[in-house]
């Protein structure tokens, strides 16, 4: 089971966190601090796994971003490594050649997408096409609702 997903930038800035096991706010901060120390200092050409407190953290670097997933010791590491890549490919398809900035300004989109890929720390959908279809449907629903809401509130909100 995946206990949590963390996206870290090269500088240690958090870009996304998702916790499937209960962690208190303080514990979350500690975990992030410890793992950034452990992972960001690792050079290239090392393996993608780090043993940490009886868990394993599978991570993969894409340009300036580290995608990390924490799993149990006897889980299949390579499978998780490819879940990360699956996630990245879907992000890439959605944003059209995704970069860190996309994820910063559209972090909420990343959350929507992740929710279509993982639930309860397990893989939910392995078809990129299906995920893309579902996200597109969501976007349409939001857009439609916005149009229905009428132009007045739209104008008010634009002014904010």
């Amino acid at each position: 089971m995946i206990h949590f997903v963390i996206l870290l930038s090269r500088q240690g800035k958090v870009r996304l966190t998702k916790w499937y096991s209960p962690y208190q706010q303080k514990e979350r901060a500690t975990v992030i601090r410890e793992l950034s120390g452990l992972i960001l200092s690792r050079g290239p050409k090392l393996c993608n796994f780090v043993e940490w407190k009886g868990y394993k953290v599978v991570y993969r670097r894409y340009a300036s971003l580290y995608f990390c997933m924490c799993i149990d010791q006897d889980d299949n590491e390579l499978e998780i490594l490819e879940i990360i890549h699956h996630f990245v490919e879907i992000l890439d398809r959605y944003f059209g050649s995704v970069c860190e900035l996309d994820l910063i300004f559209n972090f909420h989109k990343a959350y929507y997408i992740l929710d279509e890929i993982l639930i309860a720390g397990e893989l939910q959908e392995s078809s990129k096409k299906t995920v893309a279809r579902l996200i597109a449907a969501q976007d349409t629903m939001v857009e439609t609702a916005k149009e229905e809401a009428g132009s007045i509130s739209n104008m008010i909100s634009q002014a904010m």
Binding site: Y20, E79, H108, Y112, D115, E125, T130
Partner: protein, 1062 residues
């Protein structure tokens, strides 16, 4: 992009990004939070759009690592919004901000449920996702049936059903009772026929969880799993979108093989054949390819297949195929595959030991020894750690020398790292790794030493070159080893002498050298440079540079040198005396005391000989080092899947075992190499006793002479013995020191103390111990423990040197639930464990099955359900027996399911109280008694006592400050039915305890309830607690005895007050 609508959010994000430093960022964030807070305060003016925007901002701030302590209500309230966009934001942000234990989640359970059972598919998806991600126990209880319905519904579309499957998985993990196993095996089997691979992937995850918990119920699913695997492996009917780099859903393949690993065997020959065909295809057909993703995915499947083959006891041919593959992986350059190869190699090693194929596998693995050693020098710590584990596991007599040498090299230095980072910047992981290397090197050296001097060489080298990474246990162990092997003593002393020549010496090296020379330097006296005087000179040179703990050892060494000073050399004696005198005023008390005592002792002349005799041999025990590695593994294993899996076990009694043999070896006495010179039982028992006395009372400076033999609680040895005492400490986890046994019982002492390993005790143990079934004494007073537990709900009920029984209770009206925690403190299992509950007539009790064996150092939890039928003070008894070694222990323990546990504090108004009080006309419903000989307690303590008896003390009803009005409801099955006339549905008992201010040992108690039996029993129960106040009640700060108590004399006569009431 879709975000265009939320400009405010984008602006905020870029502002934060543009901040030059952390301080600016903080200011910007604070400003934003302040703004959001004010906006939320007058919520009326907020549009949905604004709410959404603010909630996203809060999530963003939370992600940056700032504490956001508001806005949860607003976030959660969005879930109830009627429109999709708001609802979506509400659900997603809630599941990111809150965790399953958050109170706010309770508020929305109903809304969530409505969304799940409603017709709107998109709402269903949102709700299922959130529950799947953060649903807790309460969600399990209220939502599981609805989620199950969605999963099996034929009208739901796949997108809902796959979410339902994983949501159910979450709910099942939180509360396994929600899935009714009986009904589910057929359903599960149907679900596995699913054609949609998205749904099937989710269902397979659920299946893994279910089957890991109960294989028996799911045998019918086994052929289905094999079918699925066949379909995938042959790429039959797999839609292209479900192939990943040309591989049909690698994830589903992995999951399916994982599920299959839970079945112990596959009986049906057809199914078995089909499965092995598939596995063979995977083993043979996976090649290393260029594309990294394809490669990873293919190997994910391959490694899972390897695990499954090993699990299934395949034919030898297939096994050797696996082993060959592993050999390939260990040698490969790709780091991920090499890491996993090493990891699997270790699993294989363990597995093979089980299957007695060990020699084949070891041969093959050994062929790769040099490659594994190369991995030990890898720049990647993950890989180094794996390599270390594998080397440790594969080490035996044939390769021990090489492996230990390599480990030693690795601890001592690794140049490529030291060149980049200096030692002081070694990060914690690196440091821990070195310590582990040192420890494992020490263990292997001892275990597989071709000769004893080699062992000493290795350890001394280790201490010399890598002292920083050598824990104290390692040097204690070498001392112990040398002490027990006479042949080794001159050699070790000579070695120690050599090391002292070195100019810069690690302090641990000083300690061990000084200790060895103190004990054995007289054996070298004839050699050049080894006269007492020379030894003294070289050791005393170290004195100015060492820390206190080392000084203590050096002083002992000097005292020993002095003893061997024959013929007496007055100059040496004067030198040593002057050191003793100097340290008499040392800042550390221990050092002072030693100096004073050694000085005084050394003037006793020949008596010194007796006192400072050589250390006796140590009893054989498990190496503390091995224990240490086991502990280390326990630490890591604790939170892992192993524990989770054990929590999922079906039996009510759950075994949380923390025992995982370090490398498949049983913890046998590691001193097997020690040749004990002819030594009779008596002598060794004396030694044993001496050591145990040492451990108990290190301050005890008395000399004990027994049977004319010179033994010794030698003051001089106190400190070293202390150190060694830690090493030799009882094997029990928190075991107390062995009780001091009088001299006449010394034979039994050796045989029946838990520390004596069965091996050491020999056949004699059978005879003596059997005669004394209850030779095991409880630790602390059982009655006191019981009394304490009458007033609180968790604590230790019983403890002896083998077992600890803890108890935890929960009470709800007339139901109670205990959990008994039976903990085995030993490193070997407790067997024939039997626990029977003997309930009194007024309690219905049900104890879940207690397993017959408690694994070493494991804890077993046994729930015990209690139902109270009526009021009574009779007690339930737990009859517990177990066997340890040959000793049968039987104890009868009272269970604190006492009357007052079924009380519930009730606070009522004065009006209500008097109404009830007056309606109770007198005996037998209302009773009064004057109690004498009450333990004097201040009023506040008395009030506390009643609170811990689960009754409410209600202030302000009685105007007399010396009177207490106490109120509670009592729950039982019978009174509940009987008293439905009176009030609510429970009987209420009102008690007045009046205190006579002049005499605190006397008080009058009046109490009433709607049930005469209850009134009487409750009175007696309270009496028991008042007349002999249990240990636990008073807090130490306040002196219970206060004859001149600060209570002001009552201006109201309590008697008159009472009369009025009556």
């Amino acid at each position: 992009m879709a975000l265009s609508g939320m400009r405010g959010l984008s602006v905020f994000i870029s502002d934060v990004r543009n901040c030059q430093n952390k301080e600016q960022e903080r200011l910007r964030v604070d400003k934003e939070l302040g703004n959001i807070r004010t906006r939320f305060k007058n919520e009326k003016g907020l549009s949905h759009y604004e709410k959404k925007k603010y909630v996203w901002k809060i999530l963003y701030v939370h992600m940056l690592g700032y504490d956001v302590d508001f806005g949860h209500t607003e976030t959660v309230s969005l879930i109830s919004a009627p429109k999709y966009p708001e609802k979506q934001v509400g659900y997603i942000v809630t599941s990111c901000l809150l965790n399953e234990n958050h109170d706010f989640l309770r508020i929305v359970i109903n809304t969530v449920r409505n969304d799940i059972i409603g017709r709107n598919e998109t709402f269903q998806c949102l709700a299922l996702t959130m529950v799947g991600n953060i649903g807790g126990k309460e969600f399990s209880e209220s939502l599981a049936p609805d989620v199950q319905k969605l999963l099996v519904s034929s009208s739901c579309r796949p997108l809902v059903r796959k979410k339902a499957a994983l949501c159910l998985l979450r709910l099942y993990r939180k509360n396994p009772d929600v899935v009714n196993i009986d009904g589910w095996s057929d359903r599960m089997s149907q679900l596995l026929d699913e054609r949609d691979l998205g749904v099937l992937t989710a269902v397979m995850s659920l299946f893994v969880a279910l089957v890991s918990n109960n294989i028996e119920a799911y045998w019918n699913c086994l052929p289905k799993c094999v079918k699925i695997l066949e379909r995938l492996a042959r790429n039959q009917d797999i839609p292209p979108e479900y192939t990943y780099y040309g591989i049909p859903s690698p994830w589903l393949q992995v999951k399916t093989m994982r599920a299959l690993q839970y079945f112990p065997t596959i009986e049906d020959p057809n199914t078995r054949r089909a499965l092995f065909e598939v596995l063979q295809r995977i083993l043979m057909g996976t090649d290393v390819v260029k594309n990294v993703n394809k490669n990873n995915a293919a190997h994910a499947v391959l490694f899972e297949a390897l695990a499954l083959v090993m699990h299934l006891d395949a034919e030898k041919e297939m096994m050797s195929q696996c082993v060959a593959l592993l050999g390939k992986f260990i040698a490969v350059r790709e780091p991920n595959i090499r890491y996993l190869g090493l990891y699997c190699g270790n699993c294989l090693e363990e597995n093979m030991t089980r299957m007695l194929l060990v020699s084949d596998v070891q041969d093959i693995i050994k062929r790769h020894q040099s490659q594994i050693i190369t991995s030990l020098k890898d720049p990647d710590i993950s890989i180094r750690r794996r390599a270390l584990d594998l080397l440790y596991g594969m080490c035996d007599v044939t390769n021990a020398k090489d492996i230990v040498e390599e480990l030693l090299q690795e601890v001592i230095c690794d140049p490529h790292k030291l060149s980049t980072i200096s030692l002081q910047y070694l990060n914690t992981a690196e440091f821990a790794m070195r310590e582990e290397l040192a420890l494992k090197a020490a263990i292997l050296a001892e275990k597989f030493a071709p000769d004893l001097s080699w062992y000493v060489d290795v350890i001394l080298q280790l201490i010399d070159k890598a002292g920083d990474f050598v824990s104290d246990d390692i040097w204690y162990r070498v001392v112990q080893f040398v002490t027990n092997n006479e042949d080794l003593q001159p050699y070790a002393a000579a070695k120690a002498r050599e090391y002292l020549e070195k100019p810069a010496l690690h302090e641990t090296m000083v300690k061990v050298s000084a200790y060895l020379l103190g004990e054995y330097s007289h054996l070298l006296a004839q050699r050049p440079g080894c006269s007492p005087k020379e030894i003294f000179t070289i050791i005393s040179e170290k004195l100015p540079t060492v820390t206190t703990s080392t000084i203590a050892i050096l002083l002992s060494t000097f005292a020993k040198i002095l003893m061997h000073n024959h013929p007496s050399d007055p100059q040496l004696q004067e030198q040593i005396w002057s050191i003793f005198r100097k340290y008499e005023s040392y800042i550390d008390v221990e050092i002072q005391q030693r100096s004073v005592e050694y000085f005084a002792l050394s003037r006793k002349g020949t008596a010194l000989m007796d006192v400072l005799a050589e250390m006796p041999k140590f009893p054989e025990r498990q190496s503390a080092l091995i224990k240490k590695t086991e502990d280390a593994e326990v630490d890591t294993a604790e939170q892992s899947a192993i524990r989770i899996r054990s929590l999922q076990q079906t039996s009510n009694a759950l075994v949380v075992t923390d025992q995982r043999p370090a490398n498949g070896s049983v913890p046998v006495s590691q001193l097997a190499l020690v040749r004990m010179p002819s030594q009779n039982m008596e002598a060794s028992s004396t030694h044993d006793q001496a050591t145990s006395q040492d451990q108990i009372n290190p301050q005890d400076r008395e000399f004990s002479h027994q049977n004319g033999s010179v033994t010794a609680v030698v003051p001089q040895e106190v400190h070293p013995a202390d150190l060694l005492g830690d090493l030799l400490g009882p094997l029990a986890i928190e075991g107390p020191p062995a009780p001091a046994v009088p001299a006449e019982h010394k034979d039994q002492n050796l045989l029946s103390t838990p520390e004596a390993t069965p091996d050491a005790a020999g056949p004699l143990a059978l005879a003596t111990v059997d005669d004394q079934p209850n030779s095991v004494q409880p630790i602390a007073n059982i009655a006191e423990r019981f009394n304490a537990l009458c007033l609180k709900d968790s604590g230790v009920l019983y403890e002896d040197s083998h077992i600890q029984i803890g108890i935890k209770a929960e009470w709800r009206s007339h139901h109670g639930r205990f959990v008994l925690f039976l903990g085995n403190k030993n490193t070997s299992p407790l067997v024939s464990v039997q626990a029977v509950i003997l309930p009194p007539t007024h309690l219905k009790m049900e104890l879940s099955l207690v397993p017959e064996t408690i694994p070493p150092r494991a804890q077993v939890q046994c729930p015990l359900e209690v139902v109270n039928l009526r009021a009574s003070r009779d007690l339930a008894v737990l009859d517990l027996s177990y066997k340890f070694g040959t000793a049968v222990v039987n104890v009868k323990l009272r269970i604190p399911a006492v009357l007052n546990k079924f009380l519930q504090p009730l606070s009522i108004s004065a009006e209500e109280f008097f109404l009830q009080w007056k309606s109770l006309s007198g005996p037998p419903l209302k009773l009064q008694e004057v109690l004498r000989g009450v333990k004097p307690l201040p009023l506040s303590e008395l009030a506390n006592l009643f609170t811990s008896l689960r009754m409410a003390v209600i202030p302000g009803i009685d105007t007399n400050p010396n009177n207490l009005i106490i109120c509670a409801t009592f729950h039982s099955e019978s009174t509940r039915a009987m008293l439905c006339l009176v009030s609510i549905n429970l009987c209420s008992s009102d008690i007045r305890v009046e205190t006579d201010p002049t005499d605190r040992t006397q008080l009058r108690i009046t109490l009433g309830s709607g049930d005469p039996i209850l009134t009487f029993e409750l009175k007696e129960c309270i009496k028991e607690h008042l007349v002999s106040i249990p240990m636990q009640a008073p807090t130490p700060g306040i002196s219970p005895i206060q004859p001149q108590s600060p209570v002001t004399p009552a201006y109201n006569d309590p008697g008159a007050m009472l009369a009025g009431l009556l």
